[in-house]
């Protein structure tokens, strides 16, 4: 039989393994986005695709604000405030869906080119598509955390899933911080 202290030590060791594993995954995944950034500057150089500036600003703001709520969810659960945690997760998720609607639902339709129309189309749809795929997986991850949170699964001591979902969400957000200027701001039309 293991004592509660021994069980907590084991949990802490596993938590440290999990943290390192997640960071390594993020490091690995960031090479995909780095490759796409290289592609954008290699093919388009100092030209940028013709995009809706206001829409870009709105979706970027939405995603940045969602990261704030992701962090708040993690803080609330570590303080033991279950209600605040659930509300924050829900808001993060909704803002993430809002971002997806803005990019895939509007920007993809409003763009004056399709994926087969030259390097602008290829670069734009590949970059936003790959990022949107990651946002989608993040939303699914948040939904799983939300649902398990409703069942009362997380405690101030043990909430690795919340931490992982939040960190993954921040990573997806940081990627957009690089992608937004690369697509919307840098270069001339």
């Amino acid at each position: 039989m293991t004592t509660p202290e021994a069980a907590l030590t084991t949990y802490k060791q596993k938590l440290a393994n999990n943290r390192l594993g997640l960071w390594l995954f993020i490091l690995s995944d960031s090479f995909v986005f780095a490759a796409l950034l290289v592609t954008r500057f290699y093919l388009l150089g100092d030209k940028r695709p013709h995009l809706e500036q206001e829409l870009g600003l709105i979706v970027t703001s939405v995603l940045l604000i969602s990261s704030f709520f992701a962090n708040r969810a993690e803080v609330q659960i570590s303080k033991g405030n279950r209600k605040g945690f659930l509300t924050s997760i829900l808001i993060t998720m909704l803002l993430g869906i809002g971002f997806l609607v803005g990019v895939v639902g509007f920007e993809w339709r409003l763009a004056p080119f399709g994926p087969a129309d030259g390097p602008e189309g290829a670069v734009f749809f590949m970059m936003t598509g790959m990022h949107a795929f990651h946002v989608l997986t993040g939303v699914i991850f948040l939904f799983i955390v939300f649902r398990n949170g409703l069942k009362g699964h997380y405690s101030p001591e043990k909430h690795w899933a919340v931490e992982a979902a939040a960190n993954y969400w921040h990573f997806v957000d940081v990627v957009w911080i690089f992608f937004y200027p690369a697509l919307y701001l840098i270069g001339s039309l």
């Binding site: 390594l24 690995s28 087969a116």
Partner: protein, 615 residues
């Protein structure tokens, strides 16, 4: 699950067939709703991808993760007791030793498949003119030979590192046992998709898949892309697991600089595999999308640039060769002291040289592109960074020679393969600088000299050490030793056979034989040389056949071994019984000395801690 369906692999294969059919049906259905006719390529791409996921669901690789998503608890891997027996090897197992053996089987299976492809086209090359294969089939075979063996090598290094690393560092298991099983079972359906490329039209690009040719190639190209994408994920997740295991799961007292060299080599290799592999996945995905959606990344007519592909592709595919050889070089450094009975010379330098090769390896990719038409000012910097790789590699050679110097060498079968590895890798290494130097590269690019160089590095850096490792750890897996006589026949056929083949390839390359062509001009006068290369290739194949017979026969009839058969100091031999039990190290161990102090009086390495009270 009863009867034949208790074999996980069978459920997986059924799942793959269902997933594949569902993917084809899904795409065809959606296209029908949009009023479009059936088109094979998108349907088969989605089918292949869903088939792989179907396999993983069938075998149960997602079961625990789905349970977590539903908020259910699953038992800790350490408390799971799997039924002992052969059946464990045919299904989902969380034991790193079982997974290591599974990797080895997949690796050897692909080695046989990929090697057979080579034998087919080697026979074609014996004479000028086309004898018995079509041009498209020849081209498909060379590409398949390349990629099948690359996947085989990735599986082989995973086999060695999965089996040996947790044992060497005194860990109970890998850091993430479920992820470990997932990584392995991801590679199985991916390998099947890869082989399916032959039956879906083949492809004519060789293993590099350069656009614009790969944009026009038959549909087999897409199966190749899907297979490499998923095999790449298998490699990435395996590397992630190994890094966490090495950094966090070491036995008490094992500081970084008391780690076995093989753990250092695995760490270095995993850093490359974790990061650079994403680039080949992304670049192949981009070509795949270019074919499916017309996205013009690499098509100059649409404003794209094919040289971009080569940059992205080689950013992985050059470091990949260090992924392939670093574990093998680690095996040489790891096992040499056991058979020489002397400490490893320059431990810290050897440990750091693996990391050095890994880091320099990231900066050399464009030496594959000297003739591609890239910016000329990139040539000289990449030449210097390429030649720099020789420095850490040279450290390893000096260490091996100095370790063997004045040693009491025991010429047992694993040791023979270590010596073979050092000689063959030296040949591969020395033929490298002429290719890395711009002025000579411009003449030898795309010739058979490259083929000879590459095969020498792969055999010296991977195949020979892999055989050494299998002969060495075989008793730990089965409790029996492999037959010595057959092992020696294997070695004495393989080594001369391989050297003749490799030198022959280098020679016809210097005479002007281009790689990847099915036919050549009889006036060039190297038909005899090609005949000798082909005969030597069959010698290599025959020696591997003897090895495989030895592998299977010894499992039943080999000499029974119970103790430390090689007099190794490593904990898996000194602490654990042979064959190894299901869970490593039932009692915790502590490292109190350096790993390679063979022949030093009073040197200690590991000691078993007394059982903790109340545990």
């Amino acid at each position: 699950m009863k009867g034949i369906f208790s074999y996980g692999i069978l459920r997986g294969l059924i799942g793959q067939a269902i997933g594949w059919a569902a993917g084809i049906g899904l795409v065809t259905g959606i296209r029908a709703l949009m009023g479009l006719a059936y088109k094979a390529e998108p349907a088969w791409v989605v089918g292949a991808a869903l088939g792989i996921i179907g396999f993983l669901i069938g075998i149960g690789a997602f079961r625990d993760w789905f349970a977590w998503a539903k908020g259910e608890e699953t038992p800790d891997p350490e408390e799971i007791h799997e039924e002992p027996g052969v059946k464990r090897y045919f299904g989902y197992s969380l034991d790193h030793k079982v997974i290591g053996v599974q990797y080895a089987f997949l690796s050897l299976f692909l080695l046989v498949v990929g090697g057979s492809f080579a034998l087919i086209f080697r026979v074609e090359l014996v004479q000028t003119g086309m004898q018995w294969v079509t041009l498209n089939f020849f081209n498909t075979l060379i590409g398949m030979h390349g990629m099948t063996l690359i996947v085989s090598i990735l599986m082989g290094i995973s086999a060695m590192s999965n089996y040996a690393v947790p044992l060497l560092i005194g860990a109970r298991d890998m850091a993430f046992p479920r992820l470990n099983a997932f990584s392995f079972w991801l590679a199985v359906p991916a390998s099947l998709v890869l082989v399916s490329a032959i039956f879906t039209g083949g492809f004519d690009t060789g293993w590099t898949g350069y656009p614009p040719l790969s944009i026009r190639a038959p549909m087999g190209m897409q199966m190749f892309f899907v297979a490499v994408f998923f095999a790449g994920w298998s490699s990435i997740l395996g590397a992630l697991n190994l890094i966490v295991t090495i950094l966090r799961m070491r036995a008490a007292g094992m500081k970084m600089f008391r780690m076995p060299i093989f753990a250092w080599a695995t760490l270095a290799t995993s850093i490359i595999a974790l990061t650079a592999t994403q680039l080949i996945g992304t670049s192949f995905q981009m070509v795949s999308f270019e074919r499916l959606f017309g996205m013009g990344f690499f098509n100059a007519a649409q404003g794209g640039n094919p040289i971009l592909f080569q940059h992205l592709f080689w950013f992985y595919s050059h470091p990949a060769v260090y992924i392939f050889v670093l574990p093998g070089l680690g095996i040489i450094s790891e096992l040499l002291p056991v058979f020489v009975r002397k400490p490893l010379f320059g431990y810290k330098w050897v440990a750091m040289s693996s990391l050095g090769i890994a880091l320099v390896g990231f900066l050399v990719w464009a030496h594959h592109m000297f003739t591609s038409g890239m910016e000329e000012y990139l040539r000289v910097p990449f030449m210097y960074s390429t030649l720099l790789v020789a420095v850490p590699t040279g450290i390893k050679f000096f260490s091996w020679v100095a370790t063997m110097w004045m040693g009491r060498i025991r010429f047992q079968v694993p040791m023979l393969f270590l010596i073979g590895a050092i000689i063959v890798f030296l040949m591969g290494g020395l033929s490298g600088p002429p290719l890395g130097t711009v002025s000579t590269n411009l003449h030898m690019h795309d010739s058979y000299f490259v083929v000879g160089h590459f095969h020498a590095t792969m055999f010296g850096g991977f195949i020979f050490p892999l055989f050494a490792a299998i002969y060495y750890w075989y008793p730990k897996v089965t409790g029996r030793k492999m037959n010595d006589l057959l092992g020696k026949i294997h070695f004495y056929l393989l080594t001369p056979g391989f050297l003749i083949m490799s030198f022959g390839q280098m020679q016809v390359g210097l005479l002007g034989m281009r790689r990847r062509i099915a036919d050549y001009d009889p006036a060039q006068g190297f038909e005899t040389a090609h005949l000798i290369i082909t005969i030597a290739g069959f010698m290599v194949a025959f020696s591997v056949l003897i090895f495989l017979i030895n592998l299977f026969v010894s499992a039943k009839r080999g000499e029974v071994v119970t103790e430390n058969v090689w007099q190794s100091r490593s904990p898996e031999w000194t602490v654990l019984p042979t064959p190894a039990p299901m869970h490593n190290y039932p009692q915790p161990i502590r490292v109190v000395g350096d790993p390679y102090d063979y022949g030093l009086k009073g040197a200690r390495y590991v000691e078993v801690l007394p059982q903790q009270a109340g545990d």
